[in-house]
């Protein structure tokens, strides 16, 4: 990294055939990734999927076993951390406890011998609205304030690439929402390339231009958040990014426009363009909010898939919407999110219901869902408990 000058703008990041093995396990199997300059890129995955390792490789804190890392077209694979035009906002913030907030922010500037580090540090602190706390020590600040100082300490250097390692993980929900918006605004303001690692799918979707879902050291799918959500390619993506109702069955009919799948005797139609496999045993799915709940069997409609009857096993009210769990024989438990257009739920526990959805909303996956349970087993025990309590209450009420 040249001293005395800022990177002119965000640079693109390219990972070519990256592999990282630690003694005893492989963190990253094989990774090819290209992040265009100036974009907000999120790497989303469960803990242990290799996303933090990827970030540390880019920062230079780990060395790849194989592969190359290019920033702005320059090969940085063998550059040391301090030579790379990259800054990181660490999960733990790692603010130096022996320095004031101002000195923390000015640290990188001083190391690179940039003119007037104090004024630039104040400017960065003003950006995160913390200039009035410049003379405090980091441990005198709240979690959210520390997070903003960590951000200021990184962006003040105008790195070609800013790495964010779950920086919002330690914040409470409300502060997290606020910081997400602030981060997004700052990214647009300064025009840097952001690489954000997170396990929070909502965070990834609200902030990033492009999301890559990572699992077991591989990228499962990459794309714009809407694209990933509406058309997941694998069962992992379908379930990690929001919830999905998935059905597996053989293809029984296929036209140029749609395929029909037989799922336990019920026919489900999916547009051919939205299905990755068109023959054999396939898994198709639909998002819970795309389902409509009917209390009586709806009339057949060529544009809609209808499944049912099923029995409502759980109803949970969450203000804006109500989540129904519907047990359909042969299909398993389906999740339905219904907007609360009327007061209260339209169906109660134990009611017989049908579900339908526009066939355009279905999607066909590239793989089969794993055997791992989609829902925690406690849902059913909780519903049993709720039913028991309800029956007891009605008995008492009757007495």
């Amino acid at each position: 990294m040249a001293t005395g000058a800022f990177a002119s703008a965000g640079a693109d990041l390219e990972l070519v055939g990256i592999q990282k093995r630690f003694p005893g396990f492989t963190a990253i199997e094989h990774l090819d990734l290209k992040i265009p300059a100036g974009s907000f890129f999120a790497l989303l995955g469960p803990s242990g999927c290799g996303k933090t390792t990827t970030l540390r490789l880019v920062a230079g804190l780990e060395e790849p076993t194989a592969g190359r890392i290019l920033i702005g077209g320059t090969d940085v694979t063998h550059q040391k951390t301090f030579q790379r035009p990259v800054n990181t906002v660490f999960q733990s913030y790692a603010l130096f406890p022996h320095m004031t907030v101002l000195e923390n922010v000015a640290f990188g500037l001083r190391r690179r011998r940039i003119d007037d580090p104090v004024a630039k540090a104040h400017e960065a602190l003003r950006l995160v609205e913390l200039d009035h706390l410049a003379s405090r020590k980091p441990q005198q600040l709240s979690g959210g304030q520390q997070q903003r100082v960590a951000l200021a300490r990184a962006i003040v250097n105008r790195p070609a690439l800013l790495l964010l390692d779950e920086p919002l993980g330690a914040l409470d929900l409300k502060l997290r929402r606020q910081m997400q918006l602030e981060l997004k605004t700052i990214q647009e303001e300064v025009g840097l390339t952001f690489l954000h690692v997170t396990h929070d799918q909502e965070e990834a979707m609200t902030m990033a231009d492009t999301v890559a879902v990572m699992n077991k050291g591989r990228i499962e799918q990459m794309g714009a958040p809407e694209e990933l959500y509406e058309l997941p390619r694998t069962a992992f993506v379908a379930n990690f990014l929001g919830q999905s109702n998935l059905f597996t069955g053989p293809v029984v009919g296929s036209t140029s426009e749609a395929i029909s799948v037989d799922v336990a005797g019920q026919r489900v139609v999916v547009p051919a363009a939205r299905a990755h496999r068109h023959a054999g045993e396939v898994t198709v799915g639909v998002r819970p909010e795309k389902l409509s709940l009917h209390v009586e069997a709806p009339a057949d409609d060529v544009n809609r898939n209808i499944v049912g009857p099923g029995r409502v096993v759980d109803v949970s009210f969450s203000g804006v919407s109500t989540q129904y769990l519907v047990e359909v024989p042969g299909l398993g438990t389906l999740v339905v999110f219904a907007q609360n257009m009327a007061f209260g739920p339209v169906a109660g526990e134990g009611d017989e219901v049908w579900m339908s959805w526009n066939i355009e909303h279905g999607f066909g996956l590239d793989d089969d869902p794993s055997d791992e349970p989609r829902f925690e087993a406690d849902t059913s025990t909780r519903s049993i408990a709720t039913q028991k309590r309800d029956s007891l209450l009605s008995e008492l009420g009757g007495a």
Binding site: L61, F82, V86, N87, T88, A94, H98, F107, R112
Partner: protein, 303 residues
């Protein structure tokens, strides 16, 4: 008084909400101990330092008085020893720090991945304590004496002039003090370095600091509590040391320190007021030096 110096490096305990008679009862043995074995001798020492010789009395007979000239006399007679004591102690402390820091860093940071190696190395640091330091210092005298294998070999190889000595020189005394206090330096350094959060170092290098700058700007300031504790544990006893500098061990007539002079005045010359005055001077100088040092190091901010 060493404890008073350390008190600033640890966070003060939150005060008890109410006075409990049990707490006082539990403190009583400690207070009694301090009064009996620290406060009373200190007062006695102070009184002795102002005593004047008994008129027409024998050697070693003194009367209580307020003869403050004792202090002037001992400073005039022994100022080279006073200077030498603090000089040797300072040099030995710096040498021990230079030797112990890399050692403690290796045990506390680099060896974290191998806990077995870590404990083995710690045992090796502590192992010398199993043998009396008198014996160890005597052993060094044997190893470094004029007839020893090392010295004769060096002379045979013309690496040293044939009439050169090692024992009895200031270098030998400083060597002995450094050697004896290395564990006292290493252990406190180890305890702070062992807790050193490496993420700060990573953050430092992420912010364009090359390894030396990371060490100077982050590692050293964060390990300041250990440096302060280690240097105090070395400097304070080293300033009063009288074994290494003694003629029976590594020292000679020109290497006598305050400890040797105090010993001679108490036990040989039986000039108790002079010995007491020297002790008080030693104690006060250490107190002042340490007070300034702890204040300057500003370690209380770190914890």
């Amino acid at each position: 008084m060493a404890f008073a110096a350390f008190a600033t490096t640890t966070a003060p305990e939150p005060a008890a909400r109410r006075r409990s008679p049990i707490a006082l009862l539990l403190l009583l043995p400690g207070i009694l101990y301090l009064v009996l074995f620290f406060l009373a001798p200190l007062v006695s020492l102070l009184l002795t330092s102002f005593q004047k010789p008994t008129e027409f009395g024998d050697i070693g007979q003194f009367d209580y008085a307020f003869r403050w000239e004792n202090y002037v006399d001992v400073v005039q007679a022994y100022w080279p020893h006073i200077v030498r004591s603090f000089g040797y102690a300072l040099i030995a402390t710096v040498l021990a720090l230079l030797f112990s820091y890399p050692l403690a860093y290796f045990i506390g940071v680099k060896a974290r991945k191998w806990p077995l190696l870590q404990s083995l190395m710690l045992v090796l640091v502590i192992a010398p304590f199993f043998i009396s330091f008198l014996l160890r210092t005597l052993a060094w005298k044997q190893i470094l004496s004029d007839e020893s294998f090392i010295m004769t070999s060096l002379k045979a190889l013309s690496l040293m002039p044939t009439d050169a000595h090692f024992t009895g020189t200031p270098i030998a005394v400083i060597f002995g003090i450094t050697y004896n206090f290395i564990p006292f330096m290493t252990l406190p350094l180890y305890t702070t370095l062992e807790r050193l959060d490496l993420r700060y170092l990573e953050a430092g290098s992420d912010l364009y600091a090359h390894p030396f700058e990371v060490f100077r700007k982050i590692t050293i300031p964060l390990s300041m509590p250990g440096i302060v504790a280690g240097t105090l544990l070395t400097f304070i006893p080293a300033a009063g040391d009288y074994i290494n500098a003694s003629r029976d061990f590594l020292g000679g007539p020109d290497t006598q320190m305050m400890g040797n002079v105090i010993e001679a005045n108490f036990l040989v010359l039986q000039n108790f007021p002079a010995a007491a005055a020297l002790s008080i001077i030693l104690m006060s100088v250490i107190l002042i030096v340490v007070g300034i040092y702890v204040k300057r190091a500003g370690t209380e901010e770190l914890l």
